[in-house]
């Protein structure tokens, strides 16, 4: 069983196609792993019946020599994607028990390609968080522990359940969403690969909205190739999402060679932030050396507005969230707490339905959009965002991709940084700028911290150039040869 769950997505695909393995066997192995790993709390909703039914259908198709890109492959879905007939919570009490009568475009595409749905993974409430501790359904535990102790660590967030599930060999791959780093940071913390494509590459239709101008679905895998394959199945134009791009999806997997010879890789000097641990700095240097050894040219670049990215993000994202979350009013679906008056009902419903972090962001967002503050905050932030986009445009005039660390630290303990939201927000310092610019970025596991925890390197690419991001990522993956299993699994 164990080796079946340790297969790569691509490898499992080959074995299924060769009929060396049935989708049913593969699915049963993963369902068993899911039950065994329940202490991680990676799933909010498990869908074993759906998984087995899908696996049987896949086996029938495979037997006929048919099958889609992901035929018979068990994957997990972040519980932010609406799934028809299956509870979708966004990690919030306010949506507990909500069963959508529609399917998100991304999951629709996955099922059409034959993917097997294991269940809906845990996440920070409404994808707001970097540690997966704000979920109403309890925190997710990372499958990793420090070498020195067995204390629970966070898997990162917000897509912590998906990252943990892939790292813990519960799912071959998983979907995530990334608003300011919610795929890349948990990928780094869990020692797996996570890619956020260009904003507009994947449809947001049916994805519970956090910050619409930043939210973007993406993929987790245990390798760059696996992530590329899953993303390929997820991506594509959707007329139901006005911000999705009407562009053909390239066959990334087929083109993926990992060649970086002749590429110019930028290293932004502004990313050497204060108090960054030496081991992160060292890993970053190591990554640059690996790429240079493969024939890439390393170029120091300037992204001068980087230091404004975090405050800009923490104005724009909450502003959009405050409006996006207004629909959770207890009127039509989800939680309702009765009140004396209409206003009382609103207040009681939202007070009981939302957690602290969500409330904090709704408050911040409401504030920055208020009359008298709009110009000083929201409008200013939009202008700075434009500057950040221009920083990248200028940089990409000189380089083909940018290399940075994914996060300023390895995974931390559950409970750490909880009382200091700003310290928590700092976790996103390297991932937020590319989110603001809508650029594709990948996190690839590249080494271990002194405490034995995975560390990731991030590759940021030009808009719509996921191919270069994947190729540079693959080069790092090969050089790093990261093959450590999470300790917490034993």
């Amino acid at each position: 069983m164990a080796d079946m769950t340790d297969l790569g997505l691509l490898e499992a695909r080959h074995r299924l196609a060769a009929r060396e393995l049935s989708a049913k066997e593969l699915t049963e192995a993963h369902l068993a792993a899911m039950i065994e790993a329940r202490p991680l709390n990676a799933f909010i909703t498990e869908t074993p019946e759906l998984a087995l039914a899908a696996a049987e259908a896949s086996d029938a198709r495979l037997a006929r020599g048919e099958g889609g890109l992901l035929e018979g492959l068990p994957i997990a879905i972040k519980d932010l994607f609406c799934t028809k007939g299956v509870q979708t919570t966004a990690g919030s009490r306010i949506l507990e028990g909500f069963v959508p009568p529609y399917e998100s475009t991304v999951t629709q595409r996955l099922w059409a390609e034959g993917a097997v749905p294991l269940g809906k993974t845990n996440l920070d409430e409404f994808a707001m968080g970097s540690s997966n501790v704000t979920s109403h359904f309890g925190p997710v535990r990372s499958p990793w522990t420090r070498a020195s102790d067995n204390a629970d660590l966070v898997p990162g967030g917000s897509s912590g359940g998906s990252a943990a599930a892939v790292a813990a060999r519960i799912a071959l791959a998983a979907t995530g969403t990334d608003t300011g780093g919610s795929i890349r940071q948990p990928a780094a913390f869990c020692g797996i690969t996570g890619i956020k494509p260009t904003y507009g590459r994947c449809s947001r239709f049916g994805v519970v909205a956090f910050a619409s101008s930043l939210d973007q679905p993406g993929a987790f895998g245990r390798s760059v190739e696996d992530s590329a394959l899953l993303l390929q199945a997820m991506a594509g134009y959707d007329p139901n999402d006005s911000t999705s791009a009407d562009l053909a999806v390239p066959d990334w997997t087929a083109s993926l060679k990992g060649k970086v010879k002749g590429l110019r890789i930028g290293v932004p000097k502004e990313y050497r932030v204060d108090a960054m641990p030496a081991e992160i700095e060292k890993l970053w240097q190591q990554g640059a050396d690996w790429l240079r050894a493969e024939g890439a040219e390393i170029v120091e670049i300037a992204l001068p507005h980087t230091k404004y990215a975090l405050p800009t993000y923490y104005i724009i994202a909450p502003a959009e969230a405050s409006s996006n979350l207004a629909r959770y009013d207890g009127m039509r679906y989800g939680l309702r707490v009765e009140g004396e008056t209409l206003a009382d009902m609103y207040k009681k419903t939202r007070a009981a339905g939302f957690g602290t972090e969500v409330k904090r962001r709704v408050m911040i967002g409401t504030y920055v959009l208020s009359a008298g503050y709009y110009d000083a905050y929201y409008l200013k932030a939009q202008k700075v965002r434009r500057r950040i986009v221009e920083d990248f445009e200028q940089a990409f005039g000189k380089v083909d991709a940018i290399l940075t660390p994914t996060a300023p630290s390895a995974a931390f303990r559950a409970g750490e940084k909880m009382d200091d939201p700003v310290a928590m927000y700092l976790n996103d310092v390297f991932t937020v700028p590319s989110s603001l610019a809508g650029l594709p970025a990948i996190s690839v596991p590249a080494g271990l911290s002194a405490e034995g925890l995975p560390l990731g390197l991030q590759v940021i690419g030009k808009a719509w150039d996921e191919q270069t991001v994947l190729d540079v990522g693959l080069a790092i993956e090969r050089a790093a040869a990261f093959a450590v299993m999470p300790y917490g699994l034993g």
Binding site: F81, C82, T88, A90, L95, F98, P100, P101, Y102, S104, R204, F205, G206, V207, V208, A209, A211, S212, S213, P239, N240, D241, S242, T243, A319, E320, S322, S323, L325, A326, R327, D329, M331, R332, Y333, L342, Y346, T366, L369, S370, A371, Y374, Y378
Partner: protein, 486 residues
């Protein structure tokens, strides 16, 4: 047309601007594919987008954009090639998303104007400030169940055009003329059916008063719920009088939203400025800025129908109609078309008279529109031809007209079946004239003293002929046969 309010301390004038919400004629809503028809069962035309379900996204309906641009062109307005949809945030149960998608700083249509036709035949321009597209909210029903409010989301997401006028309106009557003209243009364009009872056209009035001669604007109140032509004038009148009384009593007008109570004929405060929502407008990140292609506006311009003002001018020139007649005939496109079909190659003024004075009356009595007129344009034309060739007299024509309206029959058939053809045979008329003169010597005496009595003779001859004699011929023969007047 001057209209002032005489207060105790002086004379006041009204300054008024109208905000009209016109429902866009379209099969689908502004941001979802759901149907937008009126009168469907509650909550039967609601897509997950309209219900504000999680993860749902708006997709702009291109046809509604075309309709807004056509309307803008009809109002001689500037079309903004770039416009932006923003979110207007507020909580209400019939607003599923917690925000309305509207246009705020960058509307699709900018400044334009609308000409109102004054009763004296002149026109006056009322400025249009802007027109923007927005989605409607659902409907809250507070009176269906005790202590509960029911929500119907059929209207949620339906496309509206908010058309805002400049504060150029000075009298309640002008407000009505503005609304009528706007409705007429919208109906010509086919961009809004203008049905006020069904709520396709809703009106809010911004009213303030100032002393005649003052240049500065007074504090205004927004009067909501003036949803019929009749109420518009009354609401403005009442609100202006209230403000004058308040100001003359030493009070101040507070900027607020007031509701017009049609039953009591008064306005009352809904919410003050301090209770006004902070709508926290910001560009909707789910929708890209709307950029119209270069040829978009020209392409639509080429498809515009002849609009009432131009048609009116043409009717005046081509058919020699007075301004009033032309204005009445062009108000509805169907009426204008009807008129043209009848007037083609005939006396335009005569055609206008028959339509305005005769047909409108009968249609109104029967509760029918011109589209359902029992008298076809062809039949009315034939009737006019019968008159023109003196085949029937004007009096007979009216009788025939009434029969045509009843039966829908061809006037020729009616005239022939009933033997109503006018008698122009002089000999036949002479015989009757002789008979009448011989039989009324007393009247002849009177005639000699008062020549106007010839009218009495004409009447007698007509009566004797069963109305069929040609009145002109009768007059001539009478004058020849009656003794000459000194």
């Amino acid at each position: 047309m001057t209209y002032t309010i005489d207060g105790n301390t002086g004379t006041w004038e009204i300054v008024c601007g109208l905000e009209v919400h016109a429902q866009v004629t379209a099969n689908a809503k502004l941001f979802s594919g759901a149907a937008a028809a009126f009168g469907a069962a509650p909550n039967s035309q609601v897509s997950p987008v309209d219900a504000g379900m999680p993860g749902m996204l708006p997709v702009l309906n291109g046809y509604c954009v075309e309709q807004a641009v056509r309307t803008g062109l009809g109002l001689e307005a500037h079309i903004n090639r770039l416009s932006i949809f923003e979110r207007k945030n507020y909580f209400y149960p019939d607003l599923p998303n917690g925000y309305q998608i509207s246009q705020y700083e960058h509307p699709i249509v900018g400044r334009g104007q609308l000409l109102i036709d004054m009763p004296d035949g002149h026109t006056r321009a009322i400025g249009i400030t802007r027109l923007h597209l927005e989605m409607d909210a659902g409907k809250s029903m507070h009176d269906q169940r005790d202590g509960e409010t029911l929500i119907d989301l059929n209207r949620s997401g339906v496309a509206l055009m908010e058309i805002v006028s400049e504060p150029d309106i000075r009298t309640p009557e002008e407000a009505v003329l503005y609304l009528r003209k706007l409705r007429s243009i919208l109906r010509y364009l086919g961009t809004c059916d203008g049905n006020m009872e069904e709520g396709s056209l809703r009106c809010d009035a911004n009213v303030s008063v100032r002393r005649v001669g003052d240049e500065t604007l007074g504090t205004r109140c927004e009067v909501k719920n003036v949803n019929s032509m009749r109420f518009v004038a009354r609401a403005i009148e009442h609100e202006a009088k209230r403000q004058v009384e308040l100001l003359e009593g030493g009070g101040k007008v507070v900027q607020e939203t007031r509701l017009f109570d049609a039953v009591k004929g008064e306005t009352r405060s809904m919410r003050g400025k301090e209770e006004a929502n902070d709508y926290r407008y910001f560009p909707d990140p789910d929708l890209l800025p709307l950029v119209l292609p270069a040829d978009f506006v020209d392409r639509l311009k080429a498809t515009l129908p002849e609009l009432p003002d131009i048609k009116k001018a043409r009717f005046m020139a081509e058919y020699r109609l007075p301004a009033y007649d032309a204005g009445v005939l062009v108000a509805e496109r169907a009426t204008a078309d009807y008129f043209e079909a009848v007037a083609q190659g005939r006396d335009g003024k005569q055609a206008a008279n028959w339509i305005i004075n005769e047909l409108f009356g009968l249609l109104a009595k029967a509760g029918k529109g011109i589209d359902a007129s029992p008298i076809s344009t062809g039949h009315l034309g034939k009737l006019l031809d019968l008159l023109g060739t003196d085949a029937i007299s004007g009096r007979i024509a009216k009788d025939v007209f009434a029969i045509m309206f009843e039966t829908g029959d061809d006037p020729l058939a009616i005239v022939e079946a009933k033997g109503l053809k006018q008698v122009t045979d002089t000999a036949a008329i002479e015989a009757i004239v002789d008979e009448v003169i011989a039989g009324n010597p007393g009247q002849v005496e009177t005639y000699l003293k008062n020549p106007k009595v010839i009218g009495w003779f004409t009447g007698q001859v007509m009566k004797a002929s069963g109305g069929k004699a040609n009145p002109q011929a009768v007059g001539e023969i009478l004058r020849a046969k009656l003794p000459p007047v000194e």
